[in-house]
């Protein structure tokens, strides 16, 4: 394992400290317990938005804190959800009296810790709503699994809910928007290599050099199939087909197309993926009216990518276009 770290124990605290220095205009960082919060929180008159989860997915979520998006992010240890204490502390820090929305990725640990935190916050008279994101079509949503995972689509939920909060929507309305984005977004990913969690020191799974894993989650958890490596276009087709069938997306739909890198794949390859994905959507008469390309929901240094398609309407488009200013996503301000 070669990593630019000092001590595996200090990875999260030192990374967060670095963010605090680099983005002092946008955020401040609390260290006991650890969470990242807008420099000007709580923002009067605004519903607060808190997300979080295991670290190792940067810039999600800490890099998405700022005007127009998250009010706070709670980073757990690498790939491990935070405990309820920092979630409660972050919730209190952003509550301006209009309530707080928790945006939670559907992983058992995240759901249980945010649920416990929401109970504790409610006991202190803070109104909390939770929206669980489950955009990953690789996993069957059935009684026999923990349900679909929350993956890169979470970034889109956070951006649009953040814009709704920014324009002054109340808690119910912000939660409804987040729920609507989740209902209209689908993702699927592929891993070319595994990643190594710092404290483990060995790759999180074994993937031979000539094989890829289709339908991974954001910790490299397996999805649909392990197959021999193929040309990029063929892989894109494998990812897009289940996405398009699932909603389903139809000819005439306006969509946001998001190609997300898993951390170890260069932009040159992400654009090859984007090119094919856009081509397939065009062939089906689906209009790509907004886009996002880059590393937003990563799995440490894993090579791979995910494709996310969000069905847009006028309101979602307007909220997507609304100004945002965070470390990783900024426009319009």
């Amino acid at each position: 394992m070669k990593k630019l770290i000092n001590d595996p124990e200090d990875v999260v605290s030192e990374a967060v400290a670095g963010m605090a220095v680099a983005h002092a205009d946008l955020i401040r960082v609390e260290t006991d317990p650890i969470f990242i919060v807008r420099a000007d929180a709580p923002v009067a008159g605004k519903v607060g938005i808190v997300s979080g989860g295991g670290s190792g997915h940067e810039p999600m979520h800490g890099g998405l804190v700022g005007p127009g998006m998250l009010d706070a992010a709670v980073p757990g240890p690498v790939f491990t959800s935070p405990t309820p204490d920092p979630i409660v502390a972050a919730t209190k820090a952003v509550d301006a009296g209009r309530g707080v929305l928790h945006i939670v990725k559907n992983y058992t640990g995240d759901v249980l810790n945010f649920e416990t935190a929401a109970d504790l916050a409610a006991a202190e008279d803070i109104e909390v709503r939770s929206v669980v994101v489950d955009d990953d079509v690789a996993v069957k949503d059935s009684l026999y699994t923990a349900g679909r995972r929350g993956v890169a689509g979470t970034v889109l939920v956070e951006k649009i809910a953040g814009a709704a909060a920014d324009r002054g929507d109340d808690l119910d309305a912000v939660a409804a928007i987040a729920t609507r984005v989740n209902a209209q977004v689908r993702s699927m990913g592929v891993a070319l290599t595994a990643c190594t969690v710092p404290h483990a020191g060995e790759p999180s799974f074994d993937l031979p050099d000539d094989e890829i894993e289709i339908g991974i989650g954001i910790h490299g958890e397996p999805g649909r199939a392990r197959i021999p490596i193929e040309p990029a276009d063929r892989i894109v087709d494998r990812l897009l087909e289940p996405i398009l069938e699932d909603l389903p997306f139809e000819s005439g739909d306006d969509v946001l197309l998001f190609v997300n890198g898993m951390g170890g794949t260069p932009l040159i390859e992400l654009y090859i993926v984007y090119r094919r994905a856009a081509e397939v959507l065009a062939e089906r008469g689906i209009n790509v009216t907004r886009h996002l390309v880059g590393d937003y929901t990563t799995s440490l240094e894993m090579q791979g990518a995910s494709i996310t398609v969000l069905k847009l309407d006028d309101e979602l488009t307007e909220l997507w276009d609304a100004p945002v200013e965070t470390a990783a996503l900024r426009w319009g301000r």
């Binding site: 790939f79 491990t80 405990t83 058992t108 249980l112 810790n113 416990t116 923990a146 799974f205």
Partner: protein, 210 residues
Amino acid sequence: MALGTAWAVDWTRRAAALVEEHKQELTHLDRDIGDGDHGENLDRGFRAVVAKLDASAADATPGDVLKLVATTLISTVGGAAGPLYGTAFLKGSTAIKGLDELDGAAIVAFLTAARDGIVLRGKAEPGDKTMIDAWTPAVDAAAAAGDDPVAALRAAADAAAAGAVATEPLVARKGRASYLGERSAGHRDPGAQSTAYILEAAAAAAEANA
């Protein structure tokens, strides 16, 4: 024969020691079908609990000690295991609240409430390949063991160990292992195994403090 605060404290220390001893094993079990951090997370939690034990009140009841275990695990473990074990110890300690001495019935009440707490949080059923597959046989065995708390805990520990082994052929239906589907069969559930260790510590502490 009844068990008091000394038992609860000794249980906690023994559980911490057993978790530390088997940290790598639990993490490897988790790596096979989950995300490979179960041993690390549980060890972090129990080390924090042990650090707090010395500072606990001199007049603490067994329930007070086990409540301290609950709140500390919730605050330090994270993942799914933190809320699940935390809820187990919290509900269990509530069931024996105020008692200075625990007889067999109190032990069964503790174990039952702990198990019900896990079911409430995790919504898993027996057969889902989770820690419930160790807890449920443990509760049943303790209830069948009569009114001796030491015998009840020994029966519970042995049943939990057998329950953990019995998770191996199961296909996971809850937690991260459920994403593996059929591929989860052939692996022991890490949560069921850690449950077996924690209940083994409870039984060993009972035998040492009887």
